[in-house]
Amino acid sequence: MRRIPPTAWIGLAIIALNLAALLFGPLLAPYGEEDILGGPFDPATALNWFGLDQNGRDMLSRLLYGAQMSIGVSLAASLLSFSVGLPLGFLAALRGGWVDTVLSRLVDTIMCVPVLISALVVLQALGSSLPVLIVTIALLDSTRVFRLARILGQGINVMEYAEAARLRGEGAWWLIRKEILPNAAAPLIAEFGMRFCFTFLFVAGLSFLGLGIQPPYADWGGMVKDNQQGILYGLYAPLYPAAAIALLTIGVNLVVDWLLAGRTRPQGEGR
C-alpha cells in the first residue's frame, strides 16, 4: 500500500472520530436528546461544554445524537445507492446493447430533473419518514453511481484480461466479481467518499428547508438552521453543527484526494 501522507492520516482520524460518534454517540451524550436544561442559547458552562441550543437543550448531546441521524442516514443512503448503482452499471458495461441503452437513457432522464426537486416530490407524496428519506436519496444518487460504474466497467471490460475471461465463457456475475470489481475498487471507494459527502450535505439541506429529518430528532443540518439566529449576536450555537458538518466532509475529501492521487482517470482507461 502506498505510503499514507499526513493529510490522509488526518482524514482517516476524522472519519474514525465520526464513526465513533455514529456508533456510541447516544452512550457518550451527557444528557438526553430532548432534555430541556435551561434558556435558549445559554453560554457554555462546565456542565454543558458547548452551551445550549435554541430550545435550551445541551448542544453536545444533540451533536452526538445528531451524528447517528446525519451520518447514519447518509451512510445508509450511500450504501444503498452503491448496491443499486454498481451492479446495474457493471451490467450495462458488460452486456452493452439494448440493456445499456435503456438503462443509460433512464438514468439520463432521471438525472435531468434536479435531485432536490425529485426528492421533494417523493417526500411530499410518501411523507418524510426516515426509511422513505433514505430510499429516495439512495435511488436518486444511484443514478450517478450507475454512470461511474458503467464508465469504469467499460474501461476494464475492454482490457485483454477481461476479454480472455469472456473468451473462456465466464458468466457476467463472475466477470463482475473477479475481473471488474477488484480493479475498480480504488476509484469506487473514492466515489463513495464523494457521494457520501454529497448526500450528507443534501440531507442537511433538506433539513434546512424543513423537509428532511423531522423534529425533535437532532440532525446537524437542521441544527444549523434552528440555531442560525445566534450567529448575528456572536453566539457559537450554529457554529458547532456547521463545524461538525465541515470537519467530516473535509476529512472524507482528504482521504478521497489521497485515493485518487496520481490516478486522474479510472484505472485501465489509460490504454
Binding site: M159, E160, Y161, A164, L167, R168, G169, K178, N183
Partner: protein, 533 residues
C-alpha cells in the same frame, strides 16, 4: 574535430531513490553518430534525455556533468537549460503520433522552436521548414504544414518530427528509437533520409535503439549498455564483427540467428483448422477479403504482414470475437458458430489466445496461481490441492519456480508474465493456440527464450500454433508453413522454406529485402539496387 557533447560520471536517480544510471562517461564529436544499444531498463533513453538536462517522470541528475560545446548544462538554471533545448540539442521521439499536439497544425509546431528561440526570422524559418520537408521527401511540402497530425500517415509524421527537431539547426540530435514504431518498409525510407540529413548538415547524433542491425546502418561508434552501466564501446565494425564482451556477443548472436534460422518441417497430422472465404469489416470498413488457409494438428502456421494487413482481425474472427461478413471457420471439420458466445464450453477450451502485451493480459489483482488455476477449475473441475499441484506442474513446464503461484503480476518481468499467459493457455489443454505478436513487445533476448519455450512445448504436447507476427526472424525460426498477408488478402502461402527462398512473390520480396542485416553497408546496397530497379 572538438567534442560537441561530453558527459562525465553521469548518475541519475528515479523519484523513489532507485539508481537508473551509474556513472557514465560519453563523448560525441561534431557530426559523429554514436549508437546507444541495450535492452529495456538499460537507461538508454534516460541518458539521451539527461544530455538535454531533462528528467522524465521525476528522474533527476544526481551526479556527474553534461557539457554541450563547452557549455555545462548541469550547472545551468532551469531557464538556462530551456534555452539550450531545441536550439543546441533536439529530440526525436519514438512515437511521433503521441509527440505531436493533436490540436495544432504540424507547421505551427515545427515553427514554434525557431520563433521561441528567435534563432531566425519568420520568413527565414518558414523557408528552412520547406527545405527540410523537401529533404525528407514529404508530399506537397508547401501545404504539408497546414495539415493536422491525425491527417497524415505514421511514416510522414515521423519524418515531420525529424524536421521539427532540425528546425533550429541544432548541433546534436537525440534520436530515441525513431523507426521502431514503423513498419519494416517505411523504416528503411526514414532511416535513409535521416542518414542523408545528418551527413548533409553535419549534425552530431545519439541513436538510441535495441536493434543492432538498424544502428549498424547509421552509427559510427556503438556504446553497449546494461542496467545503467556501460558494457562495451567501440567502432561499429569492431562491435559487430569482434565483440569483446560476452553480453554483446549474445546480443549479436541472437540478431544473427534471427536473420538466418533453419526452417522446420512438420510431417503428417490431420487437418485441424480450416478457414475458407472469410471476409470481415470494422464499422463497414472492409478489413479482410476472401481469406482461406488451413492448419494441421501439431503444426505451426505463421501469418505475417505489416500493420493494417488484417492479421490480428483474422485471429479475432477465428476466436469468435468478431463476426465475419462472409465465409466460415471449421475446427476438426466441425463448423464454429460465428460468435464465441454461441460456442460451447468445450469448443472455447480447444482454441486459446495469447496476447501481445503481457502487462494487460493478466488481471493485476489476481495472483499467478489464480490466473492459471481458473481454467483448470472451469474446464476440468480441478479444485483445491489437485488444482494447486497441476498449477505447480504447469509453472515448471514454462520454466518458472512453483512459488510464483502466490505472486501478483505486478511483481513479474515482461518475459515472466508472457510465460504465465502461455501456462494459462496450456491449462485448458487446447488443440490450437493463437499467438498474436507474443514476442514483439519483449526484448530480443527474452523473445528468444519465449520462442524456444514455444517450440519445446509443441514438440512435447503436439499443440498447433497460429503465429501472427510482423517479424520475419520469428517466422524463419518457428513456422512450418507461412501465409503472407497484405491489405486484407493472403498474397502467398506455403512451406516457410519455399516462401523465403528466391524467386520471391514481389510483396514478400520487398518484405524480406526490408529487414536490415547485421552489416554496415546493407542500407547502401539496398538503396543502390532500388535506384537501379
Amino acid at each position: 574535430m572538438s567534442d560537441i557533447l561530453t558527459i562525465r560520471g553521469l548518475r541519475i536517480e528515479a523519484p523513489n531513490g532507485a539508481v537508473l544510471v551509474h556513472g557514465i562517461d560519453l563523448d560525441l564529436k561534431k557530426g559523429e553518430v554514436l549508437g546507444l544499444i541495450g535492452e529495456s531498463g538499460a537507461g538508454k533513453s534516460t541518458i539521451g534525455l539527461a544530455a538535454m538536462g531533462w528528467g522524465r517522470g521525476g528522474c533527476r541528475i544526481a551526479g556527474g556533468t553534461v557539457a554541450i560545446g563547452g557549455q555545462e548544462v548541469t550547472a545551468e538554471s532551469p531557464a538556462g537549460r530551456a534555452r539550450l533545448r531545441g536550439a543546441r540539442i533536439a529530440y526525436v521521439a519514438q512515437s511521433a503520433a503521441a509527440a505531436f499536439n493533436p490540436a495544432l497544425t504540424i507547421g505551427r509546431q515545427v515553427l514554434e522552436g525557431p520563433r521561441h528561440h528567435r534563432a531566425m526570422g519568420k520568413a527565414e524559418a518558414r523557408a528552412w521548414m520547406l527545405e527540410l520537408f523537401r529533404a525528407l521527401d514529404l508530399p506537397d511540402p508547401d501545404h504539408f504544414g497546414d495539415r493536422y497530425p491525425h491527417q497524415v500517415s505514421g511514416g510522414q509524421l515521423q519524418r515531420a518530427m525529424v524536421a521539427m527537431a532540425m528546425s533550429c539547426r541544432p548541433d546534436i540530435l537525440v534520436l530515441d528509437e525513431p523507426t521502431t514504431a514503423l513498419d519494416v518498409t517505411t523504416q528503411i525510407e526514414v532511416l535513409a533520409l535521416l542518414r542523408r540529413l545528418i551527413q548533409r548538415y553535419g549534425t552530431a547524433a545519439l541513436y538510441i535503439t535495441h536493434d543492432l542491425a538498424v544502428v549498424a546502418q547509421i552509427a559510427d561508434r556503438i556504446q553497449v549498455l546494461r542496467h545503467g552501466k556501460p558494457v562495451e564501446l567501440g567502432p561499429t565494425e569492431q562491435v559487430l564483427e569482434a565483440p569483446r564482451e560476452d553480453y554483446t556477443r549474445r546480443l549479436v548472436g541472437e540478431r544473427q540467428a534471427s536473420l538466418a534460422g533453419e526452417p522446420r518441417r512438420h510431417e503428417g497430422g490431420a487437418e485441424l483448422l480450416a478457414v475458407d472465404g472469410i471476409s470481415a469489416a470494422y464499422h463497414k470498413v472492409p478489413v479482410l477479403s476472401d481469406v482461406s488457409l488451413s492448419l494441421r494438428r501439431g503444426e505451426t502456421l505463421a501469418v505475417v504482414g505489416e500493420s493494417g494487413s488484417g492479421k490480428s482481425t483474422l485471429a479475432r474472427v477465428i476466436t469468435g470475437l468478431l463476426q465475419p461478413t462472409a465465409g466460415s471457420v471449421r475446427l476438426d471439420g466441425q463448423a464454429l458458430p460465428a460468435s464465441y458466445t454461441a460456442r460451447g464450453r468445450d469448443l472455447l477450451r480447444r482454441i486459446q489466445l495469447v496476447y501481445q502485451l503481457p502487462d494487460v493480459a493478466l488481471n493485476p489483482r489476481q495472483t499467478v496461481g489464480e490466473a492459471i488455476g481458473r481454467p483448470l477449475g472451469f474446464y476440468f473441475g480441478l479444485k483445491g490441492r489437485e488444482q494447486k499441484q497441476e498449477v505447480g506442474r504447469l509453472l515448471g513446464l514454462i520454466g518458472l519456480d512453483p512459488d510464483f503461484a502466490g505472486r501478483l503480476p505486478g511483481a513479474l518481468s515482461g518475459g515472466q508474465k508472457q510465460r504465465v499467459c502461455i501456462a494459462r493457455a496450456l491449462a485448458a489443454k487446447p488443440d490450437l493456440m493463437i499467438c498474436d505478436e507474443v514476442t514483439s513487445a519483449l526484448d530480443p533476448l527474452v523473445a528468444e527464450e519465449i520462442l524456444r519455450l514455444l517450440r519445446r512445448l509443441q514438440d512435447e504436447l503436439g499443440v498447433a500454433y497460429l503465429f501472427i507476427t510482423h517479424d520475419l526472424g520469428v517466422v524463419r525460426r518457428l513456422a512450418d508453413r507461412t501465409a503472407v498477408m497484405q491489405r486484407g488478402r493472403v498474397v502467398e502461402q506455403g512451406p516457410t522454406e519455399e516462401i523465403f527462398t528466391p524467386p520471391f512473390h514481389d510483396y514478400t520480396g520487398r518484405l524480406v529485402a526490408s529487414v536490415p542485416e547485421l552489416r554496415r553497408d546493407w542500407l547502401d546496397q539496398v538503396l543502390a539496387t532500388r535506384a537501379t530497379a
